[in-house]
Subunit: 322 residues, 2 copies
């Protein structure tokens, strides 16, 4: 028979093909361990069954959890997932999007969105080029004009956390944040300040640090060296950083909780295992990743998204104080 017939049975074309042929083709494919050459398929179709995910650091538990959700969705949708690591570097991010574009992926998921558009011009250009070849970009909480976005109200979550802790008697706080310009971090800093102040507290300082546990450790060490009053609350914009803060506090011979309170953000799995348990805001990262993937493959313009809620989780790292 002809190649065309075989092609039709193997790639689920709308066309119908006689059962006898279909069986023979399938048997042959099975016997030969045949796999369609997806590259050739992609050149012919102009797009490939692939979705690319860009995360700042795959070793970071939050990124890993998000990636996990994306992977689940990808498996379900039958697309392969490629993951690239930006290391929080905007230039690298642009380069990666450019390179990834070469594979003509169906979609692109950007896990780390930036706020403001200063250096975002290059990215925007790449995303536009990507859109021009019918690719769909999705950002997590971003505001790119050329991309869809998974809504995530970090600001409201942080506000609720700030209010809750002010209500528990904390009056002075120090925030350990990522460098300005990142949507999630910025929103968390602002939201926390709003909530904490509304409850009568005061944010003494915003300390900039990196994104990893060790960066949090270093920041807290410096903070402690500069002198930190007992009863102060340290709010780190991510649990990973909060872990470092806790370690630094303990290494300095102070007690986390009664002496220096610590709160984080994300609720990574280890947050409940660490001692004292870390007060934080739960972000449904796995679900966020899954939805991002869905947003990529979904054909509907905008399928209804029930709305993702962030939940404040108070644990032992912030005992009531009065």
């Amino acid at each position: 028979m002809s190649l065309a017939t075989a092609s039709r049975v193997l790639n689920g074309s709308t066309r119908k093909v006689a059962e006898s042929y279909r069986e023979r083709v399938e048997a042959a494919a099975e016997k030969l361990g045949y796999t369609p050459n997806l590259s050739a398929q992609a050149t012919a179709r102009g797009t490939s069954a692939m979705v690319a995910l860009l995360v700042p650091d795959i070793a970071d538990p939050a990124s890993a959890l998000l990636a996990s959700g994306v992977a689940r969705g990808a498996e379900e949708a039958g697309v392969v997932l490629t993951i690239a690591v930006t290391e929080h570097d905007p230039e690298r991010e642009v380069r990666l999007v450019h390179a990834l574009r070469g594979h003509r992926p169906r979609g692109l998921i950007l896990a780390e969105a930036r706020s403001g558009a200063p250096q975002g011009a290059d990215l925007e250009r790449e995303l536009q080029a990507f859109a021009d070849m019918n690719g769909r970009a999705v950002t997590v909480g971003g505001e790119e004009k050329t991309a869809r976005s998974i809504a995530l109200d970090d600001r409201a979550g942080a506000r609720a956390l700030g209010a809750e802790l002010a209500g528990r008697g904390y009056r002075e706080a120090v925030v350990v944040a990522a460098p300005a310009g990142l949507r999630a971090s910025d929103a968390r800093v602002e939201g926390f300040a709003e909530g904490f102040q509304s409850g009568g507290g005061e944010v003494r300082e915003i300390r900039r640090s990196g994104f990893a546990r060790d960066d949090g450790y270093a920041a807290a060490r410096d903070l402690l060296a500069d002198g930190l009053d007992a009863g102060t609350l340290v709010f780190a914009v991510s649990d990973a950083v909060a872990f470092g803060v806790m370690a630094a506090v303990q290494d300095a011979g102070r007690e986390v909780g009664a002496d220096i309170a610590v709160a984080g953000f994300d609720d990574i799995p280890a947050a409940r295992d660490i001692r004292p348990g870390l007060t934080t805001v739960r972000v449904p990262l796995e679900e966020v990743g899954y939805r991002a993937l869905r947003a990529v493959v979904e054909t509907d313009p905008d399928a209804s998204t029930p709305g993702l809620t962030l939940e404040v989780l108070v644990r032992e790292s912030t005992p009531p104080r009065r």
Copy 2:
């Protein structure tokens, strides 16, 4: 000018092309935001600049760390990385390898190797088919005939841990392990038993559980319900599971360390942040991932690998006992 010339400047062919042409081509490419269609490139070349990684669960810190190393190597080698999740399911693993093959990746990295070859026949067939199309497969500690392997002596590491803890006075141990048939888990169980017994200890029981933190929790809960003498050591074959064990012990009102000692394996980053600090064996997972990627792209038959060593890390979860 001709397409051929443009192609030559854009893909770093060995051929030389006049400087004037080169400049014009590069300028045009830049202006148009041109990206070579890697799919077409792959069809033409017969292989793509892509490496696929299969991990059991990307949300697991150990897998994430390994993936991180692979990603670093991939970036360095200029290949894109695709990640698929097996969920520890052999059948799914085979399906994934088959599907991934469609992309004609240059290489394939299997993070979770199995011991024994009962159900490994299908996998072996896929790997053989992959090798036939000039793909290179690498397993972490595996023994597939059709794949290279990154050597990792889990057995020796576990033996050292067992000996060390027996030397610290522990006499009775319970092992919480993954289902039999997985190389890493099996090697760790056997090694630990050897070391512990050589030091005068005795392994009372080998309890099978899943791979995640919650599985460890459940296993420990059952173990405690069945009655666990004070002074018993619980060795979990991974830190993730050990975290769950610790939580269960604490939730049962017993103290980790003085009462029930706990040890793990991997030394995931959180192992030093949890309290008490978790005694474990450090596996250089990031480096393992990096090497696996190198082994895929390396042209030399077998570039010298300095040898990866596992190091016993004794922390507070296993205080001296006598």
